[in-house]
């Protein structure tokens, strides 16, 4: 089959590889009908995540048709159309039982690697480095899905692939980011980053009753989508001083909650701290550039919540612990517990409350994935979200 393989920093290739086989009784094999490139795939593409090995198949956002199931999978049959959550979760352990699926204790065969870096290991993730299991991903024609009796969600016939695909990651991720804000009547939510997750966090915050959402980015097409499609107010951080602008827009008090939908490769303008982070990251003295996170903490109103959906990998410097402590801020974060949002969000989609396919800007064949990665990285052609057809 054809699959997108990681080779090195900024080097991914479509190769012919063997088809996946069932390994465990709870596995299924899925023929991928649609997959997507995630912003977090760019962290792998850019070489910011340790534990990548030449030849690794990427992709953790995918859906398709079940072609084969293991002996222990009783709820799925060949031919059924499913969307697959990106966290690999067993459904049996302490964390799965609590609904914290992305913290599954059993799904990462390389847990010891993650423990070295993070203290304890979260769940395994498709195509997301050997630190998180080294599972072959879904930017391919076929993919093996472990614990298929727990993860995959059957997609009703009336939905198009494009409407259901984002249940795998970015819709639940945006939704959890908004849910973590514990939104109350009259709340203003500020969102750093208007990529697909940021846009879906804006849409979710509005679904959850936010009064206003303020979107922060530097790309005109993204801010346009946030404003015109979702009704957010916008700040272009390449021009405005974000902290000043937010203060002004919120009556001098700050947003009630702030969402960091950027993560470890943040950009900034006219900012000494940003130059400092670029240098330290290049010298491997700091793994992540936390510009958005710092700003979100400084901007948040006292007693408010900072919700972190952007991905961080290691360590950051100059973390504003003083602001966090003295102003009673709450930080909520985590890889998304996708499984617990699947059914409620599927219902939202079928009811027409939200159609997450609005973020798609490019539809390309899998064979053009390397070009798609380049375009997405460089934000060429107003690229916001690429979906790939095998």
């Amino acid at each position: 089959m054809r699959a997108l393989c990681w080779h090195d920093r900024h080097d991914v290739r479509v190769e012919t590889v063997p088809e996946p086989k069932l390994i465990n009784p709870r596995d299924a094999i899925v023929r991928v009908t649609l997959s997507a490139i995630c912003g977090s795939d760019l962290h792998l593409y850019g070489g910011f995540v340790p534990g990548m090995v030449k030849g690794d198949i990427l992709g953790h956002e995918f859906m398709g048709e079940v072609v084969e199931v293991g002996a222990a999978v009783k709820n799925l049959r060949a031919g059924e159309r499913v969307v697959v959550p990106f966290p690999i979760a067993c459904g049996n352990c302490f964390f799965c039982a609590k609904g914290l699926f992305s913290l599954c204790e059993n799904s990462n065969p390389n847990a010891w690697m993650a423990e070295k870096l993070w203290g304890y290991s979260p769940c395994g993730i498709y195509g997301y480095s050997h630190l998180l299991g080294g599972y072959a991903g879904g930017q391919a024609e076929y993919v093996r899905v472990p614990y298929a009796d727990v993860g995959p969600l059957k997609v009703p016939e009336e939905l198009r692939d494009e409407q259901a695909l984002f249940l795998s990651d970015i819709l639940p991720t945006g939704y959890m980011a908004a849910e973590n804000c514990a939104i109350e009547r009259g709340d203003t939510i500020a969102v750093w980053g208007c990529g697909p997750v940021g846009l879906l966090a804006i849409a979710s915050a509005l679904l959850l009753g936010a009064e206003r959402v303020i979107a922060i980015d530097r790309f005109a097409e993204r801010l346009r989508l946030a404003a015109l499609k979702l009704g957010a107010e916008t700040i272009d951080y390449s021009e405005a001083n974000v902290l000043e602008a937010l203060k002004e827009l919120t009556g001098g008090r700050g947003p009630d909650a702030c969402i960091d939908a950027v993560g470890m490769e943040a950009h900034a303008y006219h900012n000494i701290a940003h130059a400092y982070d670029r240098v330290k990251q290049a010298m491997m003295l700091e793994t992540d550039r936390p510009t958005a996170l710092r700003e979100a903490i400084m901007a948040c109103r006292s007693g408010g919540t900072v919700s972190v959906a952007g991905v961080y990998g290691g360590w950051i410097d100059k973390f504003p612990a003083g602001a966090l402590m003295n102003r009673s801020l709450t930080i909520r974060t985590g890889q998304t517990h996708v499984h617990r949002y699947l059914r409620p969000l599927l219902e939202r989609i079928t009811k027409g409350d939200i159609d997450p396919s609005f973020v798609i800007t490019h539809r390309m064949p899998l064979d053009q994935a390397p070009a798609a990665y380049r375009m997405f990285r460089d934000k060429q052609d107003e690229c916001i979200k690429v979906v790939l057809m095998p």
Binding site: M1, A3, C5, W6, H7, R13, E15, V17, P18, E19, P20, K21, I23, N24, P25, R26, V53, K54, G55, D56, I57, A72, I88, C90, G91, N92, C93, F94, A97, E105, N106, S107, N108, P109, A111, W112, M113, G124, G133, G134, Y135, A136, A140, R144, P146, Y147
Partner: protein, 205 residues
């Protein structure tokens, strides 16, 4: 506060020899740079005296100079624990099969003690010689959260504490082996299978 020892006898002899060599070298033709060598040398002597190298401390190496099994003059100690969301009897029954014990490879397992639902102890024999010994204890996790399995294992140091430290950094230590065996057991008991990617496709490596 006394540090728990992390140097074996062989290590300490090496530290004494190395420390004295540095000091003697410095005294033969004194200079400022050799004074530094002399102080490093005395630091080695001090570590040989305390039996503990603070730089190895983050790696969690622990040496036991008076092991419970007198056939071994001294041992390196491994302790690991895991919580498994299954009833104690079931967890015990799994480990009661000798092949499921977190014993070190290339040693024959001889069950030394066996208290149902509470404890399993074994000796790892290489021929007649004792290579390691270990035990598992089982207790209920608080609040009905399943069973806590605590593993204690001691093995004869071959490469000294430096060898143990290197093995740990390389991820091939007895500590890893015990941790992996416990993790494997939890996966089997909770999910019915062990997570694996062996045999999955990849591009050219």
């Amino acid at each position: 506060m006394p540090r728990s020892p992390n140097l074996t006898r062989a290590d300490r002899i090496g530290y004494v020899v190395g420390g004295i060599a540095l000091i003697v070298w410095a005294l033969r033709r004194p200079s400022w740079s050799r004074a530094l060598a002399a102080s490093v040398g005395s630091w080695f002597l001090y570590q040989a005296y305390t039996g503990s190298n603070p730089m190895l401390k983050p790696l969690g190496i622990r040496v036991n100079r008076e092991p419970a099994q007198p056939q071994l003059a001294e041992t390196i100690v491994v302790e690991e624990a895991i919580t498994i969301s299954r009833p104690r009897a079931e967890v015990y029954a799994y480990f009661a099969r000798p092949e499921h014990l977190p014993a070190l490879a290339d040693a024959e397992v001889d069950i030394a003690r066996n208290v149902a639902d509470q404890e399993l102890a074994w000796r790892g024999l290489r021929g007649e010689k004792l290579a390691h010994f270990g035990s598992l204890s089982f207790r209920d996790a608080p609040g009905g959260r399943g069973t806590i399995v605590a593993a204690h294992l001691e093995y004869a140091p071959s490469g000294g504490s430096l060898g143990a430290a290197l093995a740990r950094v390389m991820g091939r230590s007895p500590q890893r082996l015990v941790a992996d065996a416990l993790r494997h057991a939890r996966a089997i008991l909770e999910t019915g299978e062990a997570p694996s990617t062996s045999g999955q496709p990849s591009g050219l490596r």
